[in-house]
């Protein structure tokens, strides 16, 4: 396999941010997705949703301005933007499950060629595991974007024919942004839309288990 540089986590977030549209209501999951808030294109206004009952979450609170009654889903003290609102957890998930959010961006362990997502538990891991909001968000969100590395630490592909990890939801993923590619899940399978700078579609295919659909020469990713 080619030993070429892949995108950093921040670059994955930066590329995924370009998928969002102005004025959208968006939920960001843990990990790479959470970095997206730092890479919004200029002129784009996004209202961030948090499953503990916030719409219009702003930047992280600075030292001295933290209020521990105002935290995001990762317990981090945050701020609000003008126009923000509070509601209880059931309404927060009514928004996710009921399809009211414009986008959600989650991390992933595996995505299948049908768009099945596995992102909550590693087989054989110790402890109880935890689902959190992932299943509601994945099931209900119209435009679900998954940000993840293209391959696991052991090199195994994360774009697979069928998920072997415990499932989060079936046929839910719309777009995948990895350190090698941007892909869309279509009825026909996973379409390779863009490749990372310096990579070819054949190289990305070789690092994927699912067969990627390629139309002609696949363009390189742009970041702005």
């Amino acid at each position: 396999m080619p030993d070429k540089p892949r995108l950093a986590r921040e670059q994955i977030a930066q590329r995924a941010a370009l998928e969002l549209t102005d004025g959208a209501f968006v939920n960001l999951g843990w990990g790479i997705p959470n970095l997206i808030a730092d890479f919004l294109p200029k002129g784009l206004t996004i209202y961030f949703h948090s499953e503990n009952g916030i719409l219009g979450m702003g930047r992280r609170a600075r030292t001295g301005e933290e209020d521990f009654d105002l935290v995001d889903a990762m317990k981090v003290p945050v701020t609000l933007v003008p126009g923000a609102s509070f509601f209880h957890q059931a309404d927060a998930h009514l928004m996710t499950r009921g399809g009211h959010l414009d986008f959600a961006v989650l991390g992933g362990f595996q995505v299948s060629e049908k768009g099945d997502l596995a992102n909550w538990k590693i087989p054989g891991s110790k402890g109880s595991g935890g689902i959190g909001g992932a299943m509601d968000i994945a099931t209900g969100t119209k435009n679900l974007i998954v940000c993840m590395e293209h391959n696991a630490k052991d090199g195994s592909p994360k774009i697979v024919k069928n998920c072997t990890y415990p499932l989060t939801a079936l046929e839910c993923v719309r777009t995948i942004v990895t350190d090698l590619a941007v892909m869309d899940v279509t009825k026909e399978g996973v379409l390779l839309r863009e490749v990372a700078p310096g990579w070819t579609s054949d190289e990305v295919q070789a690092l994927s288990e699912a067969k990627l659909i390629v139309h002609g020469i696949v363009p390189q990713m742009k970041f702005a």
Binding site: D69, G127, S128, G130, M135, G140, P166, A169, L170
Partner: protein
């Protein structure tokens, strides 16, 4: 008028006994009834079923209940990697756990509150969550039957209560608290401040007094949170 205000945390939890099913509000460190949990941890009650989004952070929040070995079963969405006392007892088989997707946990509480016997949802279809549940197809969509979660008590945290039991919440400390207040047989709330009837504008009431049975003022205490 029924007097709902109790003078101490210990009195607020006095009638909670062995085997009780208890909902605990709170999420992400905010809105936990930490003083009521401390009172419960001082009491010799065991075999509790705890219904809560998570299972504490080390000794904090629900953690002390697991440290003491007072909980035998958990219904939770995200027990949490820092819930070490829970995780140890879970690994030893001393606590059993039902994992529920977070929004479905909310709706199962709401079903209990609303007198609904169940509902169908696509959440969990094809996953471990569907195991043992009725599955059917409605309008071409696979879905599973989810049933209500009932409890004897809800221990919750609010910002202000009036003497009747109308409640308001601060910022994102609302989370599960209003839902659990509606779902349990008896709701016990710790608040920062108790105000006179009428001091909360009716249009600002988040939890109406009908759902609240016992109020204790806990601001300034060690676990005021």
């Amino acid at each position: 008028m029924i007097r709902k205000i109790v003078d101490s945390l210990d009195a607020a939890v006095a009638d909670i006994g062995d085997g009780a099913r208890i909902m605990f509000g709170g999420f992400g460190g905010a809105g936990f009834p930490n003083n009521l949990i401390q009172a419960l941890s001082r009491k010799d009650v065991k075999n509790i079923t705890a219904i809560s989004n998570n299972c504490g952070t080390r000794e904090g929040e629900l953690g002390i209940m697991f440290k003491n070995g007072q909980v035998s079963h958990v219904i939770a969405s995200f027990p949490g990697p820092h819930a070490n006392y829970f995780q140890d007892r879970y690994a030893n088989g001393e606590v059993t756990c039902e994992l529920v997707p977070q929004g479905i946990l909310c709706e199962r509480l709401r079903a209990a509150a609303a007198g609904l016997l169940g509902f169908y949802t696509g959440v969990g279809v094809g996953t471990e969550v569907a195991s043992g549940k009725e599955e059917r197809i409605i309008d071409g969509q696979r879905c599973i039957l989810e049933k209500p979660i009932h409890a004897d008590f809800a221990l919750i945290k609010a910002h202000k209560a009036d003497e009747l039991g109308n409640l308001t919440y601060r910022l994102a400390a609302r989370n599960f608290n209003p839902i659990m207040a509606m779902a349990a047989e008896k709701t016990i709330v710790e608040v920062d401040e108790i105000v006179s009837i009428g001091a909360i504008e009716p249009e600002n009431v988040i939890t109406p007094a009908i759902f609240v049975h016992r109020i204790v003022q806990a601001k300034g205490l060690r676990y005021a949170g």
